[in-house]
Symmetry: C2
Subunit: 194 residues, 2 copies
């Protein structure tokens, strides 16, 4: 149990997170633009503890914000990271699994891709990401895993917007979901944690 | 001195890197798509050793490939990371430093931005990135640092394409540049290291 560090995460969300509009939480100070490496280590350790029984062989995330979380966590799991790419890149392998993700924040659909050779059917995948809101990114990543024949053993999220549908959608699919902080609601521009 | 680990990096470039066209080296297997966390730690330790005298207060990189390198290295420097963002994002702070970077790989210009509050004039910045080719990304990052009044104390690169102009441009500016592996040339689709 790393209760202390999780309290640290929650305190930073409450003190440094800023609410923008109806449903956007900015945590640029430590998670999405500036990165607090000590806090990332606490997050990584906590994910290891929560998924330690799963025999994880690979961590899958999505560029760009997920990369820092995944790579620090991977040190505790001792496994490689693969990050799905969001745009067609000249450098990407031609043989890819592909899925479509609708972003409510950016109000557009985008493709995510992983080169086939980095997901094998024996892999036990842990998906990690910074936010869970409507769940579209997580579902897209699960789709890539499913296409490869590997199994999604769990999904670890740093901040879940509990008032949006993503958490319920994933639970309905019997996915082992662990969200380190869950936002109950935004009230007068402030975060209320569950 | 971490000679052994650097040999590991060089061996992996030689055995797993694949040359595409005239000037593209794919190192998707461990640096750009799948991430080898043990190798990243060796890289991070080496950067710490090479810039240990510089009193670095912050590491600056650019999304997406630079993030993994920067965040692992930051553990040895015990400083935060800031990554420049490549696209206009609804979530980015309005008060930003901005620069333009021309990508030869993608044959287009793109903007890079950092929120002003994450670069302070007292900061001693280490810029880290995966590749150095024409030097445009490094110059763009240096421009952001200069706008903030902070100082660029050094630039650490994992793989420099020694046959392109970036290295010389940075040396001409008296920047302390450290490239862990330098590619002399591509020959018959193979990498020749310096």
């Amino acid at each position: 149990m790393v209760v202390y560090e999780l309290e640290l995460l929650k305190n930073r969300i409450l003190t440094e997170g800023s609410v923008k509009g109806e449903d956007i939480l900015k945590v640029d100070m430590f998670l999405n633009h500036q990165l607090d490496v000590e806090l990332l280590n606490a997050i990584g350790k906590e994910f290891k503890e929560r998924f330690t029984e799963k025999g994880i062989t690979k961590i899958l995330t999505i560029e760009a914000s997920g990369i820092a979380i995944a790579v620090i966590a991977a040190q505790y799991f001792n496994v490689p990271v693969v990050f799905a790419k969001k745009v067609a890149s000249q450098n990407l392998d031609n043989e890819t699994y592909e899925s479509s993700v609708y972003s409510f924040t950016k109000q557009r659909e985008y493709k995510i891709r992983v080169a086939k050779k980095y997901l094998n059917k024996e892999d036990k995948i842990l998906i990690l990401d910074d936010f869970l809101a409507n769940g579209r990114a997580a579902l897209g990543l699960m789709d890539l895993v499913e296409q490869s024949g590997a199994s999604t053993e769990g999904i670890g999220i740093v901040i879940e917007k509990g008032f949006q549908e993503g958490g319920q959608i994933l639970k309905d699919k019997n996915i082992h979901l662990e969200s380190l902080a869950v936002i109950e609601k935004f009230e007068n521009g402030k975060v209320v944690l569950r």
